[in-house]
């Protein structure tokens, strides 16, 4: 079946890009109202078009759910055909809907949050540019165009982290984000090149980077699938802040808080997960790469969660929490549950954006105070912020029936089927998550106020432009997971069914990877599972799934209970825990495992020393220029003063010696060649 061409897909991208260009070119000349309207309406337009695409897609039969919009041929050289071409399949439909939806809410929120900032227009220009780039990333039908969006969102992240650039720390954080991402992109780039080399000349003049073409030629990719998978995943560890490249995300909190909500929680950082899910047909060919993805995901989830427990800066807690949750998403992909990973991408976007915007509301009210040690008791003064953040806390902790319960549970269940060890890590992280989020809430909203005397009376709820987005996301944090209501609880998991066609290759590919004999059988099973809406496959595991769900719910409630008890009644327990093991453990966690310091000592400083002393001063200035170039000149100078005797000013003598010289050289060449 031929995909259906719809030309409005390009407008989903062009609207926010056009807004960015308009706001950028007219910088600082427009009234605030115009800026706000242009910025948010373009994103709203994209949202409506995305919705249109979604409904158009839903009206199609399951097997033919694909809309395309080929705009133009971008890089045609030799065998290479790279197009600027967009597509919407069920996976992209999910992504564009929640990206534009959340982005619109955050634009509205920013109108209140950024009010009066002298970079108001610049801020919205960057924000629109970001939305446009993010949409290129998820709408692209091929890897190089995805890479345009990938780097584009990285640029916007850089610009927005360092938005208040007068503070050098902010711009340093922006630069760090860009550079760490570039390390990942180095891998991404090589991954693309390996795909090109593998498929070059074998795909009959089509764009070999197109996802559809690659998926058709998995047998060609199979021999190098592990290398490609790992290289692309290297890019994902940069963009989505996984071990070992997660160090930039906590620093990225230097940006305005709505930016943290949009870019560094809900959308951009999940691009790595999206990419891995998009390339599912490749990853399922390589158990090794899948295992690496899963293990890195699980370890990142654990490491970041332990750090989050000790941080005092409210945004730092949320940043490490994001790193940890992203770990969950990769864990899901690594065990082959791509649908569950994307499900968590979506629910996480709701509740984590809400948490950041709630934190922003608090920070706004407290005159840019971010340290939770100087908060407390804000519950009554900021009721909307409190209630919505509480909902988000329940969602991220995985309390039934909030959104996070469904997605996290699906991840843990699928992990359990694959590896008990990884499941145990994921399970422990769930408990830690509930604990540190409760700690955050308790320190911010409960207990006595520790806000400084000056500001304590001015604390008030944020304006409607900020609280309405909170409320919308609060509702989504509750009901957002219901579309994935699992079978074992009597639902039909419509989310998984919706995505199934995208991950069909995955199921077939995995079947192939399991060996020739099982292949036919498993492939048939996969088809059958699809045909019956995955119903049959799930029924068998229903009781296990139920048991696991009850266990994680119990752990979440335990974590919440312990959190409240410790931080409201028994602070002495927290103090004791801090001093446990001679305070070493707390020191290690509070110091974030000193990863930054290790990188600084092992890579940054030696690298600079090598470049400055060895390369520049010794090799370049000393050896090459000093000894070889100027040394030659100097020895020629000495030679010249001897030869000056020959320089008698007679033209004929010069002509004669010149001719002689040429002749000698020619003679030599003729004789010896």
């Amino acid at each position: 079946m031929h995909p259906i061409t719809v030309e409005y897909l390009r407008w989903i991208v062009l609207l926010p890009l056009g807004g960015a260009a308009f706001l950028g070119i007219t910088n600082r000349r427009l009234p605030t109202v115009v800026v706000s309207l242009v910025a948010s309406l373009t994103v709203l337009g994209s949202f409506l078009l995305s919705a249109q695409a979604f409904f158009a897609l839903r009206a199609l039969p399951t097997a033919g759910r694909l809309l395309t919009d080929r705009v133009y041929s971008w890089m045609p050289v030799g065998d290479l055909r790279i197009d600027v071409s967009f597509m919407v399949d069920p996976l992209t439909a999910v992504m564009i809907l929640f990206v534009t939806g959340v982005a619109f809410l955050i634009h509205i929120y920013s109108i209140g949050y950024m009010k009066g900032d002298r970079g108001y227009q610049r801020y919205f220009a960057y924000l629109n540019l970001f939305v446009g780039m993010m949409l290129i990333l998820v709408l692209s039908d091929n890897l190089p165009l995805l890479f345009v969006g990938w780097e584009g969102v990285g640029l916007c992240s850089y610009l927005l982290i360092g938005f208040w650039f007068e503070d050098l720390a902010n711009s340093a954080a922006g630069k760090k984000a860009f550079l760490v991402n570039r390390i990942g992109d180095f891998g991404f780039l090589l991954g693309m090149l390996l795909i090109a080399r593998t498929l070059a000349g074998k795909v009959g003049g089509e764009n070999l980077f197109s996802f559809a073409v690659m998926a058709q030629h998995t047998s060609l990719l199979a021999p190098v699938a592990t290398a490609i998978g790992l290289l692309l995943f290297m890019g994902a560890t940069g963009k989505s802040a996984q071990i070992p490249l997660f160090v930039w995300l906590p620093d990225a909190m230097a940006g305005p808080t709505p930016v943290s909500a949009l870019i560094h929680a809900a959308t951009m950082v999940t691009a790595g997960v999206y990419m891995v899910a998009r390339m599912n047909f490749l990853y399922v060919l390589t158990p090794t790469a899948m295992a690496v993805v899963a293990v890195i995901g699980a370890l990142t989830a654990l490491v970041a969660a332990t750090i989050a427990v000790t941080q005092d800066d409210i945004k730092k807690v949320l940043a490490y929490s994001t790193v940890s949750q992203l770990g969950y998403m990769f864990l899901a992909c690594g065990v082959g549950a791509f649908g569950a990973g994307i499900f968590h991408v979506m629910t996480h976007a709701f509740f984590k954006a809400l948490l950041f915007m709630g934190a922003g509301s608090v920070i706004h009210a407290l005159h840019h105070q971010q340290d939770m040690r100087y908060m407390g008791g804000l519950r009554s003064k900021m009721p909307v912020t409190f209630v919505t953040m509480f909902a988000a806390m329940l969602a991220i902790s995985g309390v039934f029936p909030f959104a996070g319960f469904f997605s996290k549970d699906e991840i843990l269940y699928n992990t359990f089927l694959d590896s008990k060890v990884l499941w145990a890590i994921g399970y422990a992280v769930a408990g830690l998550t509930a604990f540190y989020m409760t700690r955050l809430l308790a320190l911010t909203f409960f207990g006595k106020s520790r806000v400084d005397e000056e500001h304590v009376h001015e604390v008030h709820e944020s304006p409607l432009s900020m609280t309405i987005p909170l409320m919308v996301l609060g509702v989504l944090s509750l009901i957002g997971g219901w579309i994935g209501w699992p079978h074992f609880l009597g639902g039909s998991n419509r989310f998984e069914t919706w995505l199934a066609p995208v991950f069909r290759h995955g199921m077939e590919g995995e079947a192939m990877a399991h060996g020739a004999e099982n292949a036919v059988h498993a492939s048939a099973a996969a088809h059958a599972a699809l045909a019956h809406g995955a119903e049959t496959a799930v029924h068998a595991g229903g009781s296990t799934e139920l048991a696991l769900a009850v266990a994680s719910l119990a752990l979440a409630l335990l974590g919440i209970a312990v959190g409240f008890v410790v931080y409201l009644r028994r602070l002495d327990v927290a103090e004791a825990a801090r001093r446990a093991a001679g305070g070493r453990l707390y020191w290690l966690l509070k110091g974030k495992y000193f990863v930054d310091e290790i990188y600084e000592a092992l890579i940054v400083r030696p690298g600079y020393w090598l470049s400055d002393i060895v390369f520049f001063r010794f090799t370049d200035a000393g050896l090459i220029d000093g000894v070889l170039v100027n040394g030659t000149a100097r020895s020629l100078g000495i030679l010249g003063s001897v030869l000056r005797l020959l320089q008698n000013g007679m033209l004929r003598w010069y002509a004669y010696s010149f001719t002689l010289g040429v002749l000698v050289i020619l003679f030599y060449l003729v004789r010896h060649l």
């Binding site: 910088n27 133009y72 041929s73 971008w74 890089m75 045609p76 050289v77 030799g78 065998d79 290479l80 190089p144 890479f147 345009v148 990938w150 780097e151 584009g152 640029l155 850089y158 360092g162 650039f165 007068e166 503070d167 050098l168 711009s171 340093a172 630069k175 860009f178 550079l179 570039r182 390390i183 992109d185 180095f186 780039l189 090589l190 693309m192 090149l193 390996l194 090109a196 080399r197 070059a200 690298g607 600079y608 090598l610 470049s611 400055d612 390369f615 520049f616 090799t619 370049d620 090459i624 220029d625 070889l628 170039v629 000149a633 040429v662 050289i665 020619l666 060449l669 060649l673």
Partner: protein
């Protein structure tokens, strides 16, 4: 009009030279008029060159051909022509011309008329070099470039201008002298004339070809410059006035890479294949080394100069990987580098005119006082670091892709992986410099009163930025017009390699770079 149409290339080449006449007719001290006359002449020249673009047929070989006997006895012709390889370099040169003159509006205040004469003379020499299809004519233009450039550095340059000018002159002259010997030798081997075609079709033994390739390549490698022949470049750039730096980075460096693709590779295909591992190694060293040394520079201009060493490394790598993608990428990097690095030098010039310093440590936080300037610098920075969507990415991506799948280059994977680290280091030195110059608090009182860009400065940058964006978003017209010429070159290369005999060809490729030179000498 018909004479113009029949001699379009001659007109484009010599119009700047003819412009010297009205310049000399101007009275002394009429500085503004001198600048205006030069600007108008070069603008006209650019408009004239658009006719080349309009009439160019991709895949039509050499076009706008002119051929007149010059010195009958030696078979020297005045012959010109452009193909898909030279077309865009000619366009780049004529495009940058008027921009350069306008950039000197406030910067050049002494001997203005003489400066303009040098620039016009240089323009003719550069255009001639790209268009000449006779080796003697080429050599004349090639050497003619040296004189005005050395004067521009030596008269209008900075503190160590004489040192830099002499170094530039001697370094490049030494290389060209070898090339002259090689040209004469090839003529003596029965080429019959100095025509490019005769030289290309000349039959040489492997040893002869290796030596001649070495002589040509050395001359071009100095010009590129390829590591370790690069140390004249930072000196020349730092001492040269802004317009000199822009033309040096924008066009003159491409003379080296143009020479490689126009002469060294097609004349000596098997030698080129034989030395490809050596040159690729040097190219990759240049990419990494140039970037790391750029990182530790304290002078912004020197930083940009070293970044050229890094960028040009991509070009050399792409040329010697000899696949369609890599060569198209190399050509694209040449053009893109001309625009992005050209604009960076212009921007550095703007701030130097205001503060008379280029030391990074003298700045900091000037984005607050010069927001427009900071935005323009950011754009040029992003173009330089190869952000997708801007021109830099297309070239680097194609070079890497073409090198990675190269069938002729050994260890292509290793070369590609090492070269790809350039994407990290490129961002590293540019963004770090940007941070130290533009971001943070503006503490230095001397910077607090800095004026933002004026209209003239904006007008200089806008056309360059426009093309950086266009070439990044829609590179197809550029790629399509150069592709046939590149494919013809690659085909000729492959024929030559297979014709030189299976066993011999194999031997050439198998030789490691370290031993190949000695082996050839024996």
């Amino acid at each position: 009009m018909e004479t113009i149409a029949n001699h379009l290339l001659s007109w484009v080449i010599f119009l700047p030279l003819a412009g010297i006449v009205p310049l000399l007719a101007l009275p002394r001290g009429a500085d503004r008029s001198a600048k205006s006359v030069a600007a108008v002449i070069l603008l006209l020249d650019f408009l004239l060159s658009l006719k080349l673009l309009a009439g160019f047929v991709p895949g039509g070989g050499f076009q706008f051909v002119e051929d007149h006997l010059w010195v009958e006895r030696f078979g020297i012709h005045y012959s010109l022509g452009i193909d898909g390889i030279s077309l865009w370099l000619v366009m780049l040169t004529t495009f940058l011309g008027p921009i350069l003159i306008i950039s000197t509006w406030n910067a050049i205040t002494t001997r203005v008329r003489e400066f303009m004469v040098s620039m016009l003379f240089l323009q003719t020499a550069m255009l001639g070099t790209f268009c000449a299809t006779d080796m003697v004519l080429f050599y004349v233009f090639w050497e003619a470039m040296l004189i005005p450039m050395a004067l521009i550095i030596g008269i209008w340059g900075g503190k160590r201008k004489l040192y830099a000018a002499v170094k530039f002159f001697l370094y490049t002259f030494a290389g060209s002298a070898l090339m002259l010997v090689a040209i004469l030798y090839m003529y003596s081997q029965g080429a019959g004339s100095f025509s490019w075609f005769a030289f290309r079709d000349l039959h040489l033994t492997g040893t002869q070809a290796a030596w001649l390739f070495g002589a040509f390549t050395l001359a071009f490698a100095i010009k590129v410059p390829i590591f370790p022949l690069h140390t004249w470049l930072p000196d020349a750039h730092v001492e040269a006035p802004t317009a000199g730096s822009v033309v040096l980075a924008g066009v003159l460096l491409k003379m080296g890479t143009y020479g490689l693709i126009r002469f060294a590779i097609p004349f000596f295909p098997s030698a080129a294949a034989q030395f490809a591992p050596l040159l690729s190694t040097l190219a990759v060293i240049g990419i990494i080394y140039g970037a790391l040394v750029a990182m530790v520079q304290k002078d912004v201009k020197k930083l940009v100069a070293y970044s050229s060493v890094s960028h040009l490394g991509f070009v050399v790598l792409g040329l010697f990987a000899m696949s369609t993608e890599s060569m198209a990428g190399a050509m694209f990097v040449m053009l893109s580098h001309g625009l992005s690095t050209g604009s960076l030098f212009l921007l550095v010039g703007f701030i130097y005119e205001r503060r008379h310093t280029r030391l990074i440590s003298d700045f900091g936080g000037i984005a607050r006082v010069m927001p427009l300037y900071a935005a323009a610098f950011m754009f040029a920075t992003l173009a330089s670091v190869g952000l997708p969507g801007l021109s830099g990415f297309v070239g680097e991506f194609l070079v890497l892709l073409g090198t990675f799948k190269s069938v002729t280059l050994h260890h292509a994977t290793l070369f590609t992986v090492l070269a790809a680290t350039g994407v990290i280091f490129g961002a590293l030195y540019m963004l770090w410099m940007y941070q130290r110059v533009f971001l943070g608090d503006c503490e230095n009182p001397k910077n607090q009163g800095l004026k933002d860009l004026g209209l003239r400065e904006v007008l200089i940058l806008v056309p360059i930025f426009f093309f950086i964006l266009w070439m990044g978003v829609q590179p197809k017209p550029w790629l399509k017009s150069m592709e046939p010429a590149l494919e013809a070159l690659i085909e000729q290369q492959q024929q030559a390699l297979s014709a030189s005999g299976g066993s011999e060809a194999l031997r050439w490729v198998e030789i490691t770079p370290a031993t190949s030179l000695e082996e050839v000498q024996r």
